[in-house]
């Protein structure tokens, strides 16, 4: 890296534990707006690659459902709409609180910001708990497993292992994103407690929030595709 003015570097180094009031945008940006917009542009580009990752899931779902419609109808019949619906509401509520958290950061309401982030994290735990306790564990132990591991004797269609393959991959990748999003928001929560986010510096709250909204967005499509087939 070429340093144009080595003497300027120490002055621009950000002190540890710096609060949002003393935040200065990077010296390579023309102003704070440019920095913020670039951070968001980068996040949206990343989110588009995330959509393309899930595109693989949706396309394989479409192909397999077109080829084996009966397996998908039977497979969907094993799922309980009640838990899918609960998890949808959990994610929608958490999406709302994340949007509220961004608003709180913009308005310098630190307590509201922290409360919203904690609620969102509780929602993430609830989602994952419901998924694991009421969906994954009972189904896996009954033998409703993907592909080669399938051993459920009371299946009605010879292709039901394909349905379970799609089900576990789709919800599994989504659950992984729930975990990653919860990790990001935990990081934001810790730094909110340190007073790092406020009107002058909330890009991290905004971008982590965007990631969490994407998790919600994917579930909005997965829920009817997996639970509401006849």
């Amino acid at each position: 890296m070429t340093t144009i003015d080595p003497q300027a570097e120490p002055a621009l180094a950000k002190p540890k534990g710096m609060r949002w009031e003393s935040y200065v945008h990077g010296h390579h940006w023309r102003n704070a707006d440019d920095e913020f917009d670039a951070a968001k542009l980068g996040m949206w580009l990343f989110l588009s690659t995330e959509v393309l990752l899930f595109a693989g899931v949706f396309v394989s779902y479409a192909i397999m459902r077109m080829k084996y419609p009966e397996a998908f109808i039977n497979g969907s019949g094993y799922l309980d709409v009640k838990w899918g619906l609960t998890n949808t509401f959990v994610l929608l509520a958490s999406s709302f609180t994340v949007a509220w958290a961004v608003r709180a950061a913009q308005l310098n309401q630190r307590k509201v910001l922290i409360a919203n982030l904690i609620f969102t994290l509780l929602c993430a735990v609830a989602f994952f708990g419901i998924k694991l306790i009421f969906e994954y564990i009972p189904k896996w132990s009954e033998g409703k497993r993907p592909g080669e591991w399938f051993s459920y004797p009371y299946a009605h269609d010879p292709h039901e292992h394909i349905w379970w393959g799609i089900y576990y991959i789709a919800t599994g990748i989504h659950a992984l994103h729930v975990l990653i999003g919860a990790g990001l928001l935990t990081w934001v929560l810790v730094r909110s407690g340190m007073g790092k986010y406020g009107p002058k510096n909330y890009a991290m709250v905004e971008t982590s929030g965007l990631y969490w909204h994407l998790v919600d967005l994917v579930w909005i499509f997965l829920f009817p595709l997996l639970y509401l087939i006849h």
Partner: protein
């Protein structure tokens, strides 16, 4: 939003910002960013919850129409309605929760481009699979949902050189259970689960056999016929064996080779195992 293009002759002209993009916002506490009103966020949440319930209600309604009124609703209709409602929800999330409505348009264009690419990914498999029905009549008499369901036994392939190809995975699981429990207990549990499922979701037994509507009396038939014979009869009746292999009465499949008849008669005969099939050659 509306601003006049800066004039380089102006004494306040900012040479680091020739288009005046950042002139108005610099120095403001919130960078001039849009702050969503709490009322709007609550309204969006309410709308999202409503559309979630709506999609469940619509699905329940479809189920009612299919099972109670006996009017079939195609898979495509089911998917299109559900995805339409989901798209409205996705729009609400992206426009208001993700601030695209008040963001630079570039971020919206990125997302629109991505969705266009996703649509492209979905279109080509749909064109292929959706139109196989057009060519199937020329290959064979009966269009089929396709697939033999025969799986590869990875354990055997990695083992001591036994046949890597096994039977259908689902059939194997059922046969294992039949061997363990005996046919009578097994089939009793099998239909008991169906009855429980039907009672739980409030629709008839044909739920799991929508495509075998004329065989919906299988339960009583099984009781009449007794145990082993009945079990075999039912296994056949329910199409469990029909799907499993090649002996499916001339049903063709996208995964299997079939005889093609064309200008050069018999050109493909030696490559197929269907040459003695009654449906194979149309003009023997």
């Amino acid at each position: 939003m509306t601003h006049q293009a800066p004039n380089p002759g102006d004494p306040n002209y900012d040479w680091s910002d020739p288009h005046g993009f950042h002139h108005d916002t610099e120095g403001h506490e919130t960078h001039g960013h849009h702050v969503s009103s709490l009322r709007l966020l609550v309204l969006v949440l309410a709308a999202l919850c409503f559309f979630t319930l709506l999609t469940v209600w619509v699905a329940a309604g479809e189920s009612l129409v299919i099972h109670q009124l006996g009017i079939p609703i195609t898979q495509l209709t089911n998917v299109l309605i559900a995805m339409g409602i989901a798209s409205v929800k996705a729009y609400l999330v992206m426009a208001y929760f993700m601030h695209l409505k008040h963001d630079t348009p570039l971020n919206t264009y990125i997302m629109l481009f991505t969705f266009a690419v996703l649509a492209l990914f979905l279109t080509f498999p749909a064109l292929d699979l959706g139109n196989r029905g057009l060519i199937t009549p020329y290959k064979d008499e009966v269009p089929s949902p396709g697939g033999s369901g025969v799986g590869v036994n990875i354990a055997a392939a990695n083992g001591d050189g036994e046949s890597a190809l096994s039977g259908n995975i689902v059939d194997e699981a059922r046969n294992r259970a039949i061997a363990e429990m005996g046919p009578k207990d097994f089939w009793f549990t099998f239909y008991k689960k169906d009855l429980e499922h039907a009672a739980k979701y409030g629709h008839g037994l044909d739920h799991v056999h929508r495509f075998h509507a004329d065989e919906s009396d299988y339960f009583s038939k099984w009781l009449e016929d007794g145990t082993e014979k009945g079990a075999a009869y039912l296994a056949g009746k329910m199409g469990l064996e029909d799907h499993a292999g090649h002996g499916s009465g001339g049903v063709s499949s996208p995964d299997e080779r079939v005889v093609r008849t064309g200008i050069t008669e018999g050109l493909f005969d030696e490559h197929t195992d269907h040459s003695d099939d009654s449906h194979a050659g149309d003009d023997h």
